[in-house]
């Protein structure tokens, strides 16, 4: 039972390690571990995209697993997120939607690798992403209807005066809430997923430790339990791979829905 008594302090250490720590400079001006891994993800993304372009240009018909695989993901982003939601205007917004999707997807995937951190695991990066998406759909609205037109379009048509103003205030509030929920959803998913994975890894190591220190019969049941924790860890790891893809999908899909809302007004 003394394995469990060590758990709280180990958990505190784990959560502390997830806070932003500077590896170059300090936390105001510098490079935290999250930003470092974000740069790694961007570099990886560029390598994949340029390798894809080079290989794709070789033949008219896509050949091989790599080219077909990347094309499948791009077509998924195009058909499932752009065409089905944005309708006729999809071509204008596809570059933005696709770059959002690939950026978040690569960040999440890099974070899944043991020892790495996801770029999206810190509030700063997700808030910046949400802000980009927020500014984009407001810019689309302003471009379509003009600044005054966009502000007016927040209130639905065909509602009489006093209710109209009330609905406008609520809509304005919900528009700003989109910014917060987009950022918090992605951050919380990544953070929570990594804390859960870390908790099971700590449990497995704590239960296995007595057997490593001295070989005794009394330590064998604890080691047997730790196998159970490792199995759970593997299951959670699989779920996290799924979550990484789904969260990239959800973030992009919501951005597309918000763009569609201003496009259809």
């Amino acid at each position: 039972m003394d394995a469990l008594s060590k758990l709280p302090e180990e958990m505190d250490a784990l959560i502390n390690s997830f806070m932003s720590q500077a590896i170059v400079g300090d936390t105001t001006v510098g490079l935290t571990q999250y930003i470092f891994w974000m740069c790694v993800a961007i570099a990886l993304l560029f390598v994949v995209i340029f390798a894809f372009k080079k290989k794709q240009a070789k033949s008219l018909v896509p050949q091989g697993f790599f080219v077909n695989g990347v094309e499948y993901v791009i077509e998924f982003a195009r058909d499932d997120m752009c065409k089905s939601i944005l309708g006729d205007t999809w071509k204008k917004h596809f570059p933005f939607i696709a770059s959002l999707f690939f950026f978040i997807l690569f960040n999440d995937i890099v974070g899944i690798i043991p020892g790495c951190h996801p770029g999206t695991g810190t509030m700063g990066v997700t808030a910046a992403l949400a802000l980009v998406s927020f500014v984009y759909f407001i810019a689309v609205g302003v471009k379509r209807m003009g600044p005054l037109g966009y502000i007016k379009s927040l209130a639905p048509e065909g509602v009489s005066f006093p209710m109209n103003a009330l609905v406008w205030v609520i809509e304005l509030f919900s528009t700003f809430l989109r910014l917060v929920t987009l950022a918090v959803r992605l951050f919380c998913n990544m953070f929570a997923g990594h804390v859960v994975m870390g908790a099971f890894a700590i449990l497995a190591s704590l239960f296995f430790e007595p057997l490593l220190q001295s070989f005794a019969v009394s330590a064998v049941p604890g080691a047997a339990v730790s196998i159970f924790w490792v199995v759970i860890l593997i299951v959670i790891y699989m779920v996290e791979i799924l979550v990484a893809a789904i969260q990239a999908y959800v973030f992009t899909l919501l951005s597309a829905v918000y763009i569609q809302l201003v496009e259809s007004e």
Partner: protein, 63 residues
């Protein structure tokens, strides 16, 4: 105490995702041809609900 509070919060999210899955499976059984579109809407709905539970989880850990 924080963990108990988180557990209480998750009840709501659990009911929410359960209802979403219930509606999605029911609709898919009635009309299998709209499966793709329904799945998108289901994922969207679950994402909204799940965000609440996750906010609770992170607040529990940080506070």
């Amino acid at each position: 105490m924080g963990v108990i509070g988180y557990g209480l919060g998750v009840i709501g999210a659990g009911i929410g995702i359960g209802l979403a899955a219930f509606g999605a499976t029911g609709a898919m059984a009635r009309q299998p041809e709209v499966q793709g579109r329904l799945f998108t809407v289901f994922i969207l709905g679950s994402a909204f609900v799940e965000a609440l539970a996750l906010i609770g989880f992170v607040v529990t850990l940080i506070a």
